[in-house]
Subunit: 401 residues, 2 copies
């Protein structure tokens, strides 16, 4: 009988997300922020309409998977290769600086080394979901900087999860140096193999997929690969959304022929709001504004922003001032991965409830701060010749929510 | 972390459903049966790959809601009015006969009066989900008989839930005659008011919905109303799918202008298989084939089929022999509602595990038996002039899975 209550909750989440999204569109702000705020208002720490049940988490996870699949659909391998080196540099330096800043600051304020390592790890991963959504709302997914940001976000998500594996392995003493090496190889191998071979495999199977008799066979095949690679990424210790992104990339070449973007978009419109509302619902507003932790929140948030601006902006050096700023700011939002790292630290007893709250607050502030700035930075860039794929940009407008 | 396991299960369910659906298409059988069998094979009573978690139940519920919304989208009010009296007769007699047959047989085999009442109640409701899916797989949703069947299935779902309320109220002594009257009025009022006013309300709001700035505003409005009426139907004690069906009907007139069918269909393709696979997963094959209960299963199944053929076929008298057969057979499948009634009886201690198993077996057999017969009956009818809306029939082919 509890599925009944859930149907009501899903209705409230969906209507509130769309209504507030409409208001945000009208005042010229990215709807995704509206959805996060809806989550904060409806969540267990405020009105309590939205719980944190398995059903909610599953829909949120499916929403994140569909979002990254959609981003992958618009990411073509040759274009990734073109930005590959730069994305690797941006992603790597964007891990090194925030980790260093966070760990040194926490150690300097009298915490133990393990706490410092965990807090550093929690500051590493850019929330590719948030950034991708903002880029897609702005209709600039295929801009050069966007492709670098998304590529770098994939890189730092991989590195972020490796850092988590390392610090968590050291803290419980269960991870050996060979164990870490295996995990690293698995992760890198997964991304490289699928990134390179995915397109070829889909192209090779395309004729057979088109010959299926079930309704919308190509869509079914794409969704199946999306779910499968998400589950596989998960199984090898990566974030599920990385698998979904690689699945999208694999179908990027057949996308126009199968009209995949138009077919996946209704699913996106239904499921993606759940991801953002439920991410927002996890934020405890009281903790966010507790005076005793405001100083720590300010310091960690400042270092988290500075780490990405210096690390990622630095790696983007030479692209022109505005592009450097876009790449730096685009990498600022933290989200699920940082919160997951903090949860692991909390569960293992390495960090306390106070530092956990600081990580969540940092995630939400960086998430709220980056989109308006990105919007301003891109506004001065919209008619610039460096934006490629004008027609695709127009198509992509359909994606935002 | 348990969302990870779920992602894997969803992948397995989706791929197996689509793959077996493809095989069934190729051998000329409705894919929905393939999906039910996939559920039986993967379910906790067989391979155990698919559990019965809240996430599964929620996705299954959403699948059923989307299915009935899609059927509603293709049901226009004037056409329902045209079949209204007939559907009311078919639905009502289709409740009276199975209830009578079931209750008398159970009482005659030495069970208590309460047991007889519960078993009769569990034999009443046609599974409109199964029937609608078969009709949509066959591309005949807009045929005269299909509209009568779907209208009658809504009628008997309403009546079936009222019968449950009555027998369950008597068995725990908690329901008064005024209480039953209120429940009846609520249910009938809900269907009539929304059925009549829904279209007008949507038409009145259409211009405002088209003026929204969010991406795919009309789709968002339709999905919001669908979720909202499903939750509301639930709240007034009806099946959620009745609300979803009425929501679809409300949008039937703006459907072509907003291209709603094409937009909802990808969501259908993703979610509906979960409903059928998870319905199949609830079947305990061992119980189905237990020799001691086979006699009872055969008797109850025979009476369940005879009750609908006599009651519904009788009410369709005068439509021509083939149409009478289509209406009778189309009302035969039982499903969720009957199983829910049996679960309530089991939970209240009125019926035992043995009779519960009999109801589940009866549901699955009637569900498996009806589609192939319907297919044969419609095959002789496809080019007949009585099928209206040829172009819509072609459009509808996109719905089947």
């Amino acid at each position: 009988m509890d599925t009944h209550r859930i149907l009501f909750e899903l209705f409230v989440i969906f209507v509130a997300a769309k209504a507030v999204g409409e208001i945000f569109e009208r005042v010229g702000q990215p709807p995704v922020i509206g959805e996060l705020l809806v989550g904060m208002a409806l969540g267990p720490h405020a009105l309590g309409v939205v719980g944190d049940s398995e059903a909610h988490r599953t829909l949120a996870e499916l929403g994140a998977v569909v979002l990254l699949f959609m981003v992958g659909l618009d990411t073509r391998l040759p274009e990734v290769r073109a930005v590959g080196t730069r994305a690797l540099a941006v992603g790597s330096l964007g891990v090194v600086f925030p980790f260093g800043f966070g760990a040194v600051y926490i150690a300097a304020t009298g915490h133990a080394g393990e706490e410092a390592a965990f807090m550093g790890a929690a500051m590493v991963a850019t929330s590719v979901g948030i950034t991708a959504r903002v880029l897609s709302d702005l209709g600039v997914v295929s801009a050069l900087e966007s492709r670098i940001i998304i590529g770098a976000a994939v890189v730092d998500d991989v590195l972020g999860l490796l850092v988590l594996a390392v610090v968590s392995g050291f803290s419980d003493g269960g991870l050996s140096v060979p164990g870490i090496a295996v995990l690293c190889l698995e992760a890198v191998g997964f991304v490289v193999v699928l990134g390179v071979l995915g397109v070829r495999m889909v192209n090779a199977a395309a004729a057979r997929i088109e010959a299926t008799r079930i309704q919308r066979g190509p869509l079914a095949a794409a969704l199946a690969v999306c779910l499968g690679l998400a589950a596989l990424a998960d199984a090898v210790g990566l974030a599920a959304i990385i698998g979904a992104f690689l699945a999208g990339m694999a179908f990027a070449e057949v996308r126009p022929r199968w009209d995949l973007e138009n077919q996946v978009e209704p699913v996106y419109q239904l499921l993606v709001p759940f991801f953002f509302v439920i991410t927002g619902a996890r934020v405890d507003i009281a903790r966010l504004t507790d005076p005793s932790s405001l100083g720590m929140v300010a310091a960690i948030t400042g270092l988290a922003i500075a780490g990405k601006l210096i690390g990622c902006g630095g790696a983007a050096w030479g692209m022109g001032r505005r592009s450097v700023a876009i790449v730096g700011v685009g990498m600022v939002p933290r989200g699920e991965v940082g919160i997951i790292v903090a949860s692991v630290g909390l569960a293992e007893g390495v960090i306390g409830q106070d530092l956990y709250g600081v990580v969540v607050a940092m995630s939400i502030i960086t998430t709220l701060a980056a989109p308006p700035i990105l919007k301003i930075l891109f506004a001065g860039r919209v008619s610039a010749p460096a934006i490629r794929g004008g027609p695709r940009t127009i198509e992509m407008e359909g994606i935002g929510g």
